[in-house]
Subunit: 212 residues, 2 copies
Amino acid sequence: MEKVKIPRATAKRLPLYYRYLIILSEAGKEKVSSTELSDAVQVDSASIRRDFSYFGALGKRGYGYDVKNLLGFFKKILNQDTLTNVALVGVGNLGHALLNYNFKRSNNIRISCAFDIDKNITGRILSGVPVYDMSELKQQLSDQQISIAILTVPSLHAQKTADEMFEAGIQGVMNFTPIRISAPANVRVQNVDLATELQTLIYFLDSDKQEH
Amino acid sequence: MEKVKIPRATAKRLPLYYRYLIILSEAGKEKVSSTELSDAVQVDSASIRRDFSYFGALGKRGYGYDVKNLLGFFKKILNQDTLTNVALVGVGNLGHALLNYNFKRSNNIRISCAFDIDKNITGRILSGVPVYDMSELKQQLSDQQISIAILTVPSLHAQKTADEMFEAGIQGVMNFTPIRISAPANVRVQNVDLATELQTLIYFLDSDKQEH
DNA sequence: TCATTTATGTGCATGAATGAACAAAGAGAA
DNA sequence: TTCTCTTTGTTCATTCATGCACATAAATGA
């Protein structure tokens, strides 16, 4: 599937559009306007139209967008037509929760293997996912052709574990540790920093308060 | 504590700086330069200097920043000198994980109560946190003077539950559901959309691949 | 058929964020 | 003290993102 050069901000919104298109489709809606969608996803309607327009003229003036059309289109753009397997590294509290998180339903993503160092959980199958010892990382990722991993180990092991992952050929990391791991230039790291987000929320609330 | 008007992007980085300052302090470092910090937090050094400068001239030319000074300063800015209590609404997989997540160590945030509708877990104490029935939401939040909540209920109940929270006086929500909840104008909502982030990562990886 | 309404696609102006570059200030050495 | 070196604080140019506003095109109804 040939892809156009899309602004970063747009690319971040695509999965959101996709999810709401699924909802609309399941609700039996045939068409949708940028204004309707705007209400649902809370993005300005002009931004939505521009986002869509990067892929060509997908809508019809005076009508809106055909839901089925749009859905099929985004499915291809977002590689939703093929299942993406990812690895989970670190099966602690958060890791466990993610194992049970249903990425598959609206995203066609599946955690197909997990890794840990704790002998009590390695060698077993948790929530339908086999848990291997870290020593098997390279072999398994290679066998299963996995290039994306979710990192949920304790901070202390974050960088060391990340290095092992890069060694094993990981190209993209979703980093749940509070450490900013350093990675080779060709690797994408997406940080999800729970404590920081919460604290930012608190900060903004306080400054809201002071304005009034 | 009087606060200056800070750009959004800067405010988002403050907790990150704070965390690394703690690490530096614990490692016994007395001073730090913007360049050193830049390596650690992966933010351009000029941006760091500018971020700091919003609060006044905190550094010394030719020397850098005094770690203890800076730390004390950020502690106040970020309200780290007082404990912030938050509520957790929805004790499923993710909720459980968050109950065990240590927000307190470097952020002085504590989940002090949780809510659910499942009679099997309400009325009990999980990971040191009491779990109440949803019917007690308003009373408890009022008693404990809590204005921030983490929302981890199933998508289907997201909006309805959110409405109850607003009714109970919640001012800030960290929304882990994939639904964009609609909220009163004075309420801040921070969305943490795991599936979307993962999918965005996949999208960027694919477009990286196509460039080469 | 023709007028009216609806909703797209895009030009434009504005604002935010970034990072390079550098003058100024202070630290440290001689 | 005086010189050199380091590192800040800030200016500036650039890029990115946003949302208004509107011309254009299609749909709908009379």
